[in-house]
């Protein structure tokens, strides 16, 4: 009886000290995470211009629907989302499967080579892509030399090709990153499953679609959601592929590389500073990310 009481007392003290220890951290989270979240929601009900603040209620959100730039930026990232993410994830899955094959030699080198892009600086790689894809850049030279094209492709000067360039760049940068998750996942699939399939006469392709993909489902879901969120927040790549124009007018040819994040930046710093409106855009992006994640959970997730 008395012993029980003692432990309970101790637990009480423990939990008290626990709170003391994490209080600093909690304070930090409240100050730097919760407060900004709450404050930006509050701010999104104002139209601001520098110091000047006018309460507009839902005005900013209504304005968003009519704002052609915002709608355009959404269209831009949705195009990229629908095309780039599946290509990238499929490639990552293939690479991971190939590199998981115990028979393959120099696995370490291949894995490193494919993963290396993920550790390069976002700005540095984009700038290099920008140089490579310029009108008389390396890519056009090679393509013309090989004879695939006769005239240089206007990579960064045509709204369509600008998006293609962005997609190529993104795929180069992020495929290895996603491949790592798949590789980790593949380690957890017992080799016996494949051996059994092999004995039953299943081809490699069948094994890939009937064993690898279903068993990696949770990881595929994870990478899909993180890639979706990443695309929604796309900033560095379009900014560096498109900016730097003599006096900087549009983001990519005809704003074809305008993304919501770049638009937020412009609204805050390049245009007449409207932090209220920028907050509203941020909230809508969060909402879209949440909805997309929810849909993906429903589609891929197990019903448990």
């Amino acid at each position: 009886m008395s012993e029980k009481k003692k432990t309970r007392g101790l637990e009480h003290i423990w939990s008290k000290w626990g709170w003391v220890f994490i209080s600093l951290m909690l304070l930090g989270i409240i100050l730097f995470v919760f407060y900004p979240i709450a404050y930006s929601l509050y701010l999104s009900t104002f139209s601001t211009r520098g110091f000047l603040k006018t309460f507009v209620g839902f005005g900013n959100y209504i304005k968003l629907v009519q704002d052609t730039y915002f709608v355009l930026s959404l269209k831009n990232i949705l195009t990229i989302l629908v095309i780039q993410v599946p290509i990238m994830l499929f490639l990552a899955l293939i690479f991971a499967t190939l590199l998981n094959d115990p028979k393959i030699k120099f696995k370490g080198i291949y894995r490193t080579a494919l993963f290396l892009p993920a550790v390069t600086s976002l700005v540095a790689y984009t700038v290099i892509f920008r140089v490579m894809f310029s009108n008389d850049g390396l890519v056009n030279h090679v393509l013309m030399f090989v004879g695939i094209i006769k005239e240089p492709i206007r990579w960064l000067l045509d709204p369509f090709w600008a998006k293609v360039t962005l997609i190529v760049a993104l795929t180069w940068r992020w495929t290895g990153y996603n491949m790592m998750f798949y590789l980790a996942g593949l380690q957890n699939i017992p080799i016996e499953v494949y051996e059994a399939a092999e004995i039953d006469g299943a081809s490699k392709t069948v094994q890939f679609f009937k064993i690898t993909v279903p068993l990696l489902k949770p990881i595929i879901l994870f990478t899909t959601i993180t890639s979706t969120i990443g695309t929604l927040q796309l900033f560095d790549e379009p900014m560096n592929l498109a900016a730097g124009v003599v006096t900087g007018s549009s983001v990519g040819p005809g704003n074809s590389l305008l993304t919501p994040s770049v638009y937020i930046y412009n609204v805050c710093f390049k245009y007449s500073p409207n932090f209220g409106y920028a907050s509203a855009i941020s909230y809508v992006i969060v909402l879209i990310a949440a909805v997309l994640a929810f849909i993906q959970f429903k589609v891929v997730g197990e019903r448990e």
Partner: protein, 419 residues
């Protein structure tokens, strides 16, 4: 006795340390461009130190976007610290800052003789009859060309003086045909040329009352037509971004560059082309109001109202930027900076002949054109308007939209974005 001695010692020590600690005024300055604004400000600081040795300077070099971002966030947050004494602001953005942050910048109206500065410059930093900045460099535009290519194509320098843009395109076609060189390098989605064109006719994206003036603006319509014409005529090498653009003329791929005077440094960077360049007035538009003089860019110094050493900062700008003619000669020769303090333009450097430009008196010419630049009110939304127009340009180029339709669409987009 001993105690007395200790007391005296303590007092002395305190006095001494107070003396050592006697605060020196420290002026912090934010600016961009380590090849232009920064060394110019360093030169100014060195000169002021001779007048007032008790001042220290901290000249901070940041990218232009970073200066704007920092200024915006700190001003908007309402804190009074962390800002510099002096900040460089691009002229297109001046009114935006002045109107968005009332009271943030020091009113300099009484401190300077404004008639000594180029009027168009003073106008764009004036709000409610108060002047808030110290005019600095001019963005007076010029038509730089390669005399060797032009002569090879059969033209004389006099053929390029005071021409229209249509003539410019015709000459460009001949140059392309006879020399195989492009006339200019151009980014089809850059608004720089648009702004040169508009200002040459004293027009902007907004009318006198600040209302958007895009859809039915005949000057703008003509400007968009010229953009399309330049692209369709094939006289322009298409580039994307600053580096490719500068590379095109440094490598000798184009016969001309039409832009602000500040490009001289980049043109001269390619020393092997010395003597091959000349400069002429910018072409004008085929519109009655348009003249052979215009402007692109330019920036000015602003003093923060709540900065600690505000008065010293103002005194500094006054003694150097509004008094030291010798300073202006030096930055002109060393950096190609055409200042907008008019008395300096009588100085010797402005008359100097430049062998790089075949001994033309380049800066004499620029300061003459500068006086002819039609003043316009840049308003607060120049970049919004620029973006609105540039985002319809693909449809103009492809012919999907007529110019009228495109400008109507641009105005609608613009109106939505500033609502």
């Amino acid at each position: 006795m001993k105690r007395m001695f200790v007391r005296i010692l303590v007092v002395l020590l305190i006095g001494l340390s107070a003396l050592l600690y006697a605060e020196k005024a420290k002026i912090t300055i934010w600016a961009w461009d380590p090849n232009f604004n920064i060394p110019i400000m360093q030169e100014a600081a060195a000169r002021y130190k001779k007048i007032n040795p008790d001042v220290e300077f901290e000249i901070v070099n940041m990218a232009k976007a970073d200066v704007e971002q920092k200024l915006n966030t700190i001003l908007a947050s309402g804190v009074k610290t962390g800002l510099p004494e002096i900040v460089l602001i691009e002229d297109y953005n001046a009114q935006k800052y002045l109107q968005s942050y009332p009271g943030a910048f020091a009113d300099l109206t009484k401190h300077f003789t404004w008639s000594e500065f180029a009027p168009y410059k003073v106008k764009l930093m004036t709000l409610n009859n108060k002047v808030y900045g110290v005019p600095f460099d001019s963005g007076v535009a010029g038509f730089f060309y390669r005399i060797d290519y032009i002569e090879q194509a059969g033209f004389k320098p006099s053929d390029l003086e005071n021409i229209t843009w249509d003539r410019f395109i015709e000459i460009g076609k001949v140059v392309k045909q006879k020399t195989g060189k492009f006339m200019i390098a151009a980014d089809p989605y850059d608004g720089g040329l648009m702004r040169i064109l508009l200002q040459s006719a004293g027009t902007w994206y907004f009318d006198k009352s600040g209302k958007p003036y895009i859809a039915n603006n005949p000057v703008l319509k003509e400007a968009v037509r010229l953009y399309k014409e330049i692209k369709d005529s094939g006289i322009a090498k298409e580039v994307s971004g600053w580096n490719e653009w500068v590379g095109a003329f440094n490598r000798g791929e184009v016969a001309a560059v039409v832009t602000g005077v500040w490009i001289i440094g980049s043109i001269k960077a390619e020393k092997s082309q010395s003597g091959k360049w000349r400069v002429a007035p910018v072409p004008r538009m085929n519109i009655k109001e348009s003249v052979n003089a215009s402007n692109l860019g330019g920036s000015s110094w602003y003093v923060l109202q709540n900065s600690k050493y505000r008065d010293t900062a103002i005194d500094f700008l006054k003694k150097i930027y509004a008094r030291d003619s010798d300073f202006y000669q030096k930055i002109l020769i060393e950096r190609g900076a055409v200042g907008t303090w008019l008395p300096a333009q009588g100085g010797s450097a402005y008359k100097a002949k430049d062998p790089f430009f075949g001994n033309q008196q380049v800066f004499q010419l620029f300061s003459e054109w500068m006086k002819k630049i039609p003043p316009v009110d840049f308003g607060v939304y120049t970049y919004e308007a620029d973006a609105a127009i540039m985002s319809v340009m693909p449809d103009v180029y492809s012919g999907k939209l007529s110019i009228d339709e495109a400008l109507k669409k641009a105005e609608q987009q613009f109106l939505n974005s500033i609502k």
